[in-house]
Subunit: 377 residues, 2 copies
DNA sequence: ACCCCACCTGAATCTGATA
DNA sequence: TTATCAGATTCAGGTGGGG
C-alpha cells in the first residue's frame, strides 16, 4: 500500500530536525515519505497596527519568517521547498499545503508547474474567525488547503470510507467546518502568551492524516512549528519527520509529542465534526427568489406593512431594518420574532415567513437526498 | 461615487457584444467600467468520459472553448484577457473571477502579477454539488471567487451594511452557501437539455452586484454565456456590457434580459453605509438649537463629562476640543467616535449624540419633501 | 454546583476626505 | 504629496471571578 516505508532506509523517524527546510530536506533520500503536510509562511504583508472597535490592539503576525521582499522572492522560496518536497515524496505520495489568499495562488500555480496533480482544494471554514474590524471587506473566515498527488499517475491513498464515516455516512465534502486552535490546546509560554502565532488545530491534522495516510506511514512536515503534525501523527500511529528552524519550537514540539499517547490498535475513527445549526438568514430567501424584492409583508392583523429590499431589510416609510428590528420598532415592542410576525400572501391567505424558511430547508434537504441517491446509483 | 459612469463616453451599454473577448474589450475605452465579473473557461482536465456508478454518462464540460493544449496556453489566454480587463476597469473598480482548482491558481497568480490587489477569496459552497462518483477524492463541493481591486490604492466600493443586512445583521463571511442553478432558472433548449454547461445561479450574481456596485454602475462580463450577469444587472438597475462569442448564447441571453423587470426606484435601495450618509458637523446641532450651549454631556458610564460651547467644541476642565478629540483625550484612546461616545439626557435616560444626528437628518428630509410638495402643489 | 457577566483573543494585506 | 482630522468599525468562544 504505502510504498515509502518498504524502502526501509535510515530515515530520522519520529524526530524533529532543527534546520532550514530546504537544506534539511536535501539530507533525506528520494521517494522516502508517504505524505507531506506543509504550513509555509503566508507572506501576509501587514502594514500598520490594527485595532478593534474597542481600541484594543490586534496581535498580528510580525515574525521575521513571514517577511519577503517581493512576490518574486516568495515564489523562489516556494519553488525551492516544493521541489525538494517532491523529490522526497514517494511516487504514490500526496502533499497538503495550507495557505490564505495572500499565498495560496502562488503555491497552487507552482505545484502545477512542478508536475504535482491537484486532487482537491479544501476549504477550512473557521467557526470563530477574527472579524473584519473596519468593515471594508468580507470577514476572512477560511483558509485553503491544496491536496495534490506527486504526479498525474500516482496511485495515491484516499480513505474514502473513513471520511464518509467521519461525516455521518455521507461523502466528505471539500469544505470543512472546524474551530480555531484556542484554549488548552494552544501552547503558551510562562507568561500565558501564545507560543506561536499560527498554531493549527489538532482536528485539522486529524482529518488530513486520517484521509490520506495509514498506520506506520511516514509524514514529513517541513515547517513544524509547535508540532501539531508530529503530535497527531503519533496519536494516530503514523511516523513523522519534522523540520523546524527555531530551537525553541523544536523543544516545545518534542515535549508536546512526548505527552501524546498513541491510540490502541482497535481505536480508529472516533471524532465527530461539529454539526452546524441550519441557520437561514432572511436575506438568503430574497437572493434565492423565494420572496421577490418589492413584496409587501404585513403583520397577522394587517395593521402594519413593509416592503422587501434587495439586501433583505424591510422598509416602512422612513424606517428600515431587519425583519426583527422593524417589527419591534413598528409595534413599540422591545423585541420581535420577525419570522412569525411578518406574513406574506399566497393563494389569498396570509402565511408567516416561517413557512418560507421551512420550505428553503426542505429544498436543501431534497437536493441533498437526490445527490445521495445519484451517488448510490 | 462611481467614477466610470461620469466619463459618459459612448459605451455600448446594456448590450451583449458578439465577439472574441480580448478583441472586443479592445474596442472599449480605458477606465470605463466600474466592475468586471468573469466566469472564464475552467481548463478542466477531464481525461476521457466520466461515468456514474450505473454506467450512465456524465454530461461534463467538453465543449471546444474549454480545450487548451497545456498550462502555458491557458496562462497566455488568461494574461491576455485580464490585461484588457484591467485597462478597461476604472481605477477604483473591482473585478470578480470565478473558478475551480483547475484554473483558479493560474488566475490568482496572474491577477497578482498584473497589479490587481486581492481583497477576498470567496468560497461558493454548493448546497447540492455533484457527488464524487468514483470515491477517490473529496466531493468537490465548492467553487472559488477572487475579488480584487484594480490596484493596491484603489478606493473600491464595498456595501458593508447591505451585506451585513443580508446576513441577519452579522458581517458577511467569505464562505457563501448557495444552491446550483437548477429548475426553472436553468435555460434549456427545445429538447429540454441545458443550454450551457456552467450557468451560474442568479443568487450568486445578486450578492456580487449588491456587494460591490451601486445603481447605474457599469458592469462588464467578458464571458457572458447565458447572461446571468446582464439579467441580474438589469434587475438591480446596474448597466451592463456583455461579451459572448457564440451567437446562440447572445440571443438566449438578450431575450432573457428582456424578460427581466428592473426594480423600482424605491425598491432597489439598500441599507446605507454611514460613510455615505451626508456629513453633519456637530456645531450645526448647536446652531439649530437641538443641543443648547451649556448642555453637559457624559460618556455612557458617566465617568467623564464635558460642556457644550457655542462653537461646537466641548470643554472639560482645562481641556477643550472637538467631540472626537476630547473623547480620545479623556480616555487616553488613540481615537474616538464622539457621536457614539458622548451622551445627553432626555426623559431621564442617556442617549448618544448619534440620535440627534439622525433626527437632524430626518428633519432635513421632511423639510425637503414639504418643499417639493409645495412646489408641485 | 451553577449561572452570569466581564474580559480576552484569533494568519488581517482593515479609512477617507480635505487642506 | 503630505499632514490633519473626522469618525466608522467586531464575532464566536473560552476563561475566570463573583454571586
Amino acid at each position: 500500500m504505502s510504498g515509502a516505508k518498504s524502502m526501509s532506509m535510515e530515515l530520522p523517524l519520529d524526530q524533529i530536525l532543527r534546520g532550514e527546510c530546504v537544506e534539511t530536506m536535501r539530507t533525506l533520500p528520494s521517494g522516502s515519505v508517504d505524505c507531506v503536510f506543509a504550513d509555509p509562511p503566508y507572506n501576509l504583508q501587514l502594514r500598520g497596527e490594527l485595532r478593534r472597535p474597542d481600541d484594543s490592539l490586534v496581535d498580528g503576525v510580525d515574525d521575521d519568517w513571514d517577511k519577503f521582499s517581493d512576490l518574486q522572492e516568495y515564489d523562489r522560496f516556494t519553488r525551492a521547498w516544493l521541489t525538494e518536497a517532491r523529490r522526497v515524496l514517494h511516487k504514490d505520495g500526496t502533499i497538503w499545503v495550507i495557505g490564505s489568499y495572500h499565498n495560496i495562488f502562488r503555491i497552487g500555480a507552482i505545484l502545477q508547474e512542478l508536475g504535482f496533480w491537484i486532487l482537491n482544494d479544501i476549504v477550512w471554514r473557521k467557526s470563530n474567525p477574527m472579524p473584519n474590524f473596519r468593515g471594508r471587506r468580507f470577514t476572512n473566515a477560511h483558509e485553503t488547503l491544496i491536496w495534490a498527488a506527486r504526479s498525474e499517475d500516482s496511485r495515491y491513498r484516499f480513505n474514502y470510507q473513513a471520511m464518509k464515516a467521519l461525516n455521518d455516512d455521507v461523502q466528505m465534502r471539500s469544505d470543512w467546518y472546524l474551530p480555531l486552535c484556542t484554549g488548552n490546546e494552544r501552547l503558551r509560554n510562562e507568561h500565558g502568551l501564545k507560543l506561536h502565532p499560527t498554531q493549527k488545530p489538532e482536528s485539522l491534522l486529524h482529518r488530513v492524516l486520517l484521509a490520506s495516510t495509514t498506520v506506520d506511514d511516514v509524514v514529513l512536515d517541513p515547517f513544524t512549528g509547535t508540532g501539531t503534525t508530529p503530535a497527531m501523527a503519533r496519536r494516530l500511529r503514523r511516523r513523522f519527520i519534522g523540520i523546524e528552524r527555531h530551537p525553541d519550537y523544536v523543544e516545545a514540539a518534542m515535549s508536546r509529542v512526548a505527552r501524546e499517547t498513541p491510540l490502541a490498535d482497535d481505536a480508529v475513527v472516533t471524532t465527530q465534526d461539529k454539526r452546524e445549526a441550519p441557520r437561514v438568514p432572511f436575506g438568503s430567501l430574497v437572493e434565492l427568489g423565494l420572496l421577490p424584492v418589492g413584496t409587501v409583508l404585513c403583520d397577522k392583523k394587517q395593521r402594519v406593512n413593509a416592503t422587501v429590499s434587495p439586501d433583505g431589510t424591510l422598509v416602512s416609510g422612513t424606517k428600515r431594518g431587519s425583519i426583527h428590528k422593524l417589527g419591534a420598532q413598528l409595534t413599540n415592542a422591545p423585541s420581535c420574532n420577525g419570522w412569525t410576525f411578518w406574513h406574506f400572501e399566497r393563494n389569498g391567505e396570509f402565511l408567516p415567513l416561517d413557512v418560507l424558511r421551512q420550505e428553503s430547508l426542505d429544498l436543501a434537504k431534497t437536493a441533498a437526498a437526490t445527490a445521495k441517491a445519484a451517488a448510490a446509483g
